[in-house]
Point group: C2
Chain length 364, copies 2
Amino acid sequence: MADAPKTGQLVLSIDAMGGDNAPGAVLDGIDIARVRHPGVRFLLHGDKGELERLMAGDAGLLAVAEIRHAPDVVGMDDKPSQALRRGRETSMWRALESVKAGEAAGAVSAGNTGALMAMSKFQLRPLDGIARPAIAALWPTMHGQSVVLDVGANVGSEARHLVDFAVMGAAFARAVFGLKTPSVGLLNIGSEELKGNEQVKVAAQSLRDAGLDIAFAGFIEGDDISAGTVDVVVTDGFTGNIALKAAEGTAKLVSHYLREALKRSLLTKIGAFLASGAFRILKARMDPRAVNGGVFLGLNGIVVKSHGGTDGIGFAAAIDLAIDMAKQDMVRRIADDIKGVSGVLSRLAPAAPDATDAAAVPPA
Amino acid sequence: MADAPKTGQLVLSIDAMGGDNAPGAVLDGIDIARVRHPGVRFLLHGDKGELERLMAGDAGLLAVAEIRHAPDVVGMDDKPSQALRRGRETSMWRALESVKAGEAAGAVSAGNTGALMAMSKFQLRPLDGIARPAIAALWPTMHGQSVVLDVGANVGSEARHLVDFAVMGAAFARAVFGLKTPSVGLLNIGSEELKGNEQVKVAAQSLRDAGLDIAFAGFIEGDDISAGTVDVVVTDGFTGNIALKAAEGTAKLVSHYLREALKRSLLTKIGAFLASGAFRILKARMDPRAVNGGVFLGLNGIVVKSHGGTDGIGFAAAIDLAIDMAKQDMVRRIADDIKGVSGVLSRLAPAAPDATDAAAVPPA
């Protein structure tokens, strides 16, 4: 169906069946992405019959995409350990397998986050020196965007993990934002003695002592994220996930307030009509699809998680991120940075293994 | 200066020197509040000379307020333990002392949060059965408001504390929202096995088993807060504080985006002018001063913390909250609810004492 990949040509592996609107939204996303990124090729893992039917007649798509049949799908509510044990036939597993085999530079999936992280850890393995891979998100700010991590790969994090996140987040910011020395802040609830848990205090001291190639800004608070105070915001996966979703909920609430307020009178309705260009801009800036994609950092391979409920526009944004990371040789850069600070990191207390570490669960 | 309090008359104790804009903003706040709450009287703790000078000629204020001289002030950056040891002469300490002595029904301060909580614990003591008092905030939602706690009194929380927070938050919601059976949700990052830390899992099981007079909704996620999914959102102080501030930052960011978008062209400017009534409504709904006030729950007395940078309008909102709590007999209601569930709570593992517990630090 598709030509054999040329040497040096970028290939992405796609979980075509993952997400609430798969495979339709996934194919729509590739259709958008292939125009933005001519020359990139896609391996589509999923139900061959269904994909062929949906792609029939789309010459542009057929020219860049190759279907790889996978009979099974990871459910959005499947437990990660279950998916890991029984999921060898799923489109998600196969998509990651292509990365592991070196056929593809990275994988994109809109499927179950926990399962995707568990399978990614198992197949791609964490980089040497990284105890806990993390999920990084791009967060819109007053000055553009910042990287926030971890936003949900781990339920708790020791100081050592937070230092890893700082190193990985900085490497990501260097590559994606083109910064030489990114500023990094540790999310905390203040700087008074009673404020801040033990992990963030120890992590802050380590980051101060480590002599990393970052501008360590110390502690920042929740409102600093959107203010864009730093390029990289480091926090544990529990807090980061809740902060991210609380912010998404707030953006929705404010939009709701705005719509309600504009409906109040004929005058406000006329005003809203005249200013509709402005509201379109606002909507575009607040469109969660524009920054769709949780990036898995700290693995021997590129994995991007698209929002499960996204459409083609959002999925295309996740593909953009994966391509960016591949072109920037992100995995090698993070590995180099981690090696460069391993002396510093080894002086910290050794990280305890994660009790819920998915990679520890053997597939049946 | 003021008449002697009549029997049954509500008296509030005010830290007149706490906050970035004290005592001006504090006096402005009382001036607003005294009109809304005729009959309420205020004990103003602070610099007598300065307060007399500022209040001179304001007959309305002088009629309801009595100045109590306090020579010292807790600095906004003072460490809580330091404030506790050396702060006996401060306006904050004295304001709480009036509550302890039974002279006032509650205290309001815009000063240093950590110091206020440390002094409150030391002077008013936690209620029987409450290991960790919490700070509750009112959070605007799609359906009105919800209670969120803890938003910063504690840096970490065991399961037992989260259960306490649920009981206290429900009592608060009953009183402030007039609900019979408030719905309560535990903030988490999902319901999959890999998601959620040990504390929230144990707390959820306890809340399910406890037979409390609440509608326990199980786990909720960050975006459920603004959605108004439940009346009471329970979380640890670290996550709650960061979620609250992340949401505040997001609201500011969206407002910024809106202003920028409306400036784009003459047409959008005209539209914005015609719709200005709507933007005033939006601004009022998003005004952080309207829901200003972190309520300290779980103490033998009412303490409300106003935002440090607030003005008179915000300080008046914090006074509103304190008056509401006093009229609803909040302390007794929480004490009763805690007694009612003590059998349930005692079956949980005993709570470890807080290593950074301010109440453990003896004042010099």
